[in-house]
Amino acid sequence: MPALFLAQDPWINFDVEALGEQFWFNTVEGLSQGSIYALIALGYTLVYGVLKLINFAHSEVFIYGAFATWFTFYGLGFRPGSTPDLPIFELVGFLLLALIAAMLISGGTAVILERVAYRPLRKHKAPRLAFLITAIGASFVLQQIIFIWRGGNAEQAIRLMRPEEAFQIFGAGVTNLTIIIVLSSLALMLVADTFINRTRIGRGIRAVAQDPDTATLMGVNKERVIMLTFLVGGLLAGAAALLYMMKIPQGASYQGGFLLGIKAFAAAVLGGIGNIRGALLGGLLIGLFENYGQSLFGGEWRDIVAFVVLILILMFRPTGILGESLGKARV
């Protein structure tokens, strides 16, 4: 009887043909979505590298940035609907304004989160599970604040930029939006990587990641480093939020960060959590897997692909492709 039940009609199909046909389209789509995941993943990776804590509330830090973007556009007089035709200078100006707003709000949220929720725990020398549960609680609180304020419906995204095809790769159109998203996130990742690897503060972050006690003895201000780590993660999440609002159709909703956060975390783990270059690699790979999966199994299986990939990676390679490395000494 159960066999009959499952054979009732094919509820999952393997459309290999569609995968082949839409391969390049999915590659382009996957890379642009993946670079957004990568930016968010960086926040998870940095905090994990320094505190060995999965900052569960990072997805809410991100969604606060998305709301900041939305309100900036709204405040400038734009409304959801058709994309306005803006002169290039104004467009760039507005986008920059939104970027600054999103980064400030996200960065601020991350720092406040660290102050209010995590710092008291560190003072009490709480066990790691307590950190995780606090993170879950904080994520609830941040979500519900938005929910109480704005209700359950998503704010329809306000688009200032009209996607226009710039050129084609093997028949797949690459829009100017895709180019901007991929390039700007790559640039931000590069800045972050340089910041961690080349600057004085970055050296402090790596030192704390490697050995907090010795770093303190060597004159590193641990509390300040931790705060800065959260700030950097938050700033990048804010930038990701602007890119998200420019591209992804769902808009900003109070729960919107959850799924994205999980995918970004999966990306961080895939590349090797605690590893900055791993976050980039993982983000792009998750974006690609997801889009290929969508072609292969159908659109509604898209999110499942991300979760299954996460579980598979953790089963076979708990430290990810590139391994955990923020704390490793590098010369």
Binding site: T134, G137, I145, I262, E300
Partner: protein, 383 residues
């Protein structure tokens, strides 16, 4: 890192309810029963008495509210085996709950193409199927620890929900109507178990809870329970001392899953409707809240936590809208000030040890009631 014998008893803020506990442990078995039986009778009579301050009426039917509380208590007992006893943080427990509910719906609802079975037969089937799923999920994932395990179980919970959305025979949002109920009619011929009257469901659920408490209590005192305590306190040490940690973790997972599935089937029966809307991660975290709030590892504690989590939004309907906000804040504040929950876990082995100690030396000494949440990394060393 539980210190069994510290010669200097130091005052500790982590020993809530100790006078009650000490009084309880000085009673003999017979006296304990003499106290327990009236309490149990009172618990059974609750929906009939409908006590004035405790009542949720008007606004919400009290008997159904009591069933909700009982359902949450059963879930908390199941999740406590996984989180409290074995120290495995499971964020996807709602997945097992959903599987139980769907099994009940598939085998009893006229909307399903499967054979119809009596509800009481479906309950053990639901438990068996969730146990199978427990093994399927546990085998690959239980090699992970702590945070990673939490995230993977969370992913599993989401996968179950997304499958319910996407697999056509599971009917997505339309759901299953007329899920079965236990048989029986009142003397006037009307059915006993209906979805408008919570009383029979409550009594049924409380009976199951009592049976489960006894079974889980026996497990706790058995070799299995000792192994769980060892694993949650220090997995590496347990492994080194010859405890087959992986096998016992699977056991905890499977037993917890079975209780979750049972609760899901009861829930489906009482509501007589199942669709994909009730099984999101938020619900899962609410279950976890019940366990953590009450004090993970302590059976009485988690029942108390479940009571708070289920009862408060139904009693004070004004704050029902804010319940996730309030519980989120409660989690943060609790972790800062009282990470072991309202009633922390106690270890029976140590409790017996204390008794012996008291008998020989004539005074008590402090035994820390460490839960998995306070047990590890207290020395501030590297995690």
């Amino acid at each position: 890192m539980t210190t069994a014998t510290t010669t200097s008893p130091k005052p500790t803020r982590r020993s809530g309810g100790r006078p009650v506990r000490e009084w309880w442990s000085t009673l003999n078995r017979f006296q304990q029963w003499a106290v327990l039986i009236p309490v149990v009778v009172l618990i059974y009579l609750l929906p009939v008495l409908n006590p004035p301050i405790l009542t949720t009426e008007p606004g919400f039917d009290f008997s159904i509210a009591m069933f909700e509380v009982a359902r949450f208590a059963l879930i908390a007992i199941g999740l406590n085996v996984v989180v409290g006893q074995a120290g495995l943080l499971d964020l996807g427990y709602v997945g097992f709950f959903a599987i139980g509910a769907y099994v009940a719906a598939l085998f009893t609802s006229p909307d399903s193409v499967l054979a119809k079975l009596p509800f009481l037969v479906v309950l053990p089937i639901a438990m068996a199927i969730t146990m199978v799923f427990g093994v399927i999920l546990g085998t690959p994932t239980l090699r992970l620890r702590g945070d990673y395990l939490a995230i993977v179980t969370l992913g599993f919970g989401e996968i179950v929900r997304l499958l319910a959305d996407n697999i056509d025979p599971l009917r997505g949002n339309r759901g299953f109507q007329e899920v079965g109920a236990p048989p029986g009619t009142w003397s006037d011929g009307s059915a006993i178990f209906t979805n408008t009257d919570g009383k029979p469901w409550y009594w049924f659920c409380v009976t199951i809870i009592i049976v489960m408490l006894m079974l889980v209590g026996n497990l706790e005192r058995s070799r299995v329970g000792r192994a769980w305590v060892a694993i949650r306190d220090d997995e590496d040490a347990a492994q080194l001392m010859g405890v087959p940690t992986f096998r016992y973790k699977i056991w905890a997972f499977v037993i917890g899953a079975a209780i979750g599935g049972l609760a899901g089937a009861l829930y489906a029966g009482q509501l007589s409707f199942v669709n994909n809307q009730k099984f999101d991660v938020v619900t899962s975290v609410l279950f976890l809240c019940a366990v953590i709030l009450g004090g993970s590892g302590n059976k009485v504690g988690v029942v108390l936590g479940a009571f708070v989590i289920a009862y408060v939004p139904l009693r004070f309907l004004v704050i029902a809208e804010y319940k996730y906000l309030i519980f989120g804040m409660a989690l943060v504040v609790l972790m800062i000030f009282r990470p072991q929950g309202l009633l922390g876990a106690r270890q029976h082995l140590l409790a017996y040890g204390r008794k012996v100690y008291q008998r020989f030396l004539g005074r008590g000494e402090s035994v820390s009631g460490d839960s998995p949440l306070t047990g590890e990394h207290r020395n501030g060393g590297k995690p």
